[in-house]
């Protein structure tokens, strides 16, 4: 692999154990972050690594055949805009006008926006939005209200 793209996602190669390789502390830290969902960029940010460091570490792990690139081509469905409108509406019913601001803040925190929101990350957004609602009864009410509409996108 010539270049490590910041949007690539890796998982550990189940045929090889990292324990058999002589990994440095930071390399172990990267390995511990791999979950088949986080991108290279997100891992770099989580570990406060610069571009050169993260590229060097991933190249070493890939060349040692410890990592497998996740094929995201079939999962690249982007969440439709109407779903954000719907979620924002349901949030507003519970939290008032501040709901749309909270939605944007949470998406910022996830480093995603409405144009590139991967369907697989959407439950994570719902999780974070639910945590913004203080009342546990309303938390469940929110999730129960939005679930029937979300289901068709999430259970693909």
């Amino acid at each position: 692999m010539d270049k490590i793209d910041e949007n690539m996602v890796f998982v550990l190669n189940s045929q090889r154990s990292p324990e058999d390789s002589d990994l440095l502390h930071l390399e172990w830290a990267v390995v511990s972050q791999l979950d088949g969902q986080k991108t290279v960029q997100q891992i770099a940010e989580n570990l406060a690594l610069n571009t050169a460091e993260v590229e060097e570490i991933f190249k070493k792990l890939v060349s040692a055949e410890l990592l497998v690139l996740v094929d995201r081509s079939e999962n690249d469905d982007v969440v439709p805009g109407e779903l954000f409108k719907f979620v924002s509406h349901e949030m507003t019913l519970l939290l008032g006008p501040v709901a749309s601001i909270i939605l944007e803040d949470v998406m910022d925190m996830m480093r995603l926006n409405r144009d590139n929101f991967d369907r697989r990350r959407f439950p994570g957004l719902i999780d974070l939005l639910t945590n913004q609602i203080d009342d546990p009864v309303k938390q469940i009410e929110f999730q129960r209200n939005i679930y029937p509409k979300l289901k068709q996108y999430l259970l693909k």
């Binding site: 189940s14 719902i126 469940i140 289901k151």
Partner: protein, 148 residues
């Protein structure tokens, strides 16, 4: 049957391998497994989760959910009134999707007559579900400190 009826959406997820419901005395009430999954693993998992939840309870940490991540997936456990729910999933799957479905669907299951009937079969009077017989010395010592 209960899982297929009330948690059907979970069984439809291709990466969900097994789901089980246990009474607080570690009796299996219902389970669903992918044909490729070894169901014997579930009993052992539930026992470990009971130990962990009971220990957390002793240390007054009100954990309702524990997710253990391993290189191929996650073990998700939720302690509920009178029962333990265990879900085994393989990667790639968002654990927040599992949590969302459980949150939305569990109420109907908890209120179902089928579950109430299933729970009645097993005594749930013993709320102290920690099995002290399988603890080693250091674990016993740790618990002793918690109880002080």
């Amino acid at each position: 049957m209960m899982i297929s009826k009330y948690l059907n959406d979970l069984t439809l997820l291709k990466n969900v391998e097994a789901i089980a419901i246990y009474s607080l005395n570690n009796d299996l009430i219902d389970s669903w497994c992918d044909p490729n999954f070894n169901s014997k693993v579930l009993d052992e998992l539930s026992l470990h989760y009971f130990q962990v939840f009971a220990t957390l309870d002793l240390s007054v940490q009100n954990f309702q959910e524990i997710v253990i991540t391993h290189e191929k997936g996650h073990f998700y456990a939720r302690i509920l009134p009178d029962m333990l729910l265990i879900i085994v999933v393989k990667l790639p799957v968002e654990i927040s999707l599992i949590r969302l479905i459980v949150n939305v669907k569990i109420i109907d299951l908890l209120n179902s007559k089928a579950l109430q009937k299933g729970l009645k079969k097993y005594s749930t009077e013993n709320k102290d579900f920690l099995n002290k017989n399988i603890l080693d010395e250091s674990e016993k010592e740790y618990l002793k400190k918690l109880e002080l």
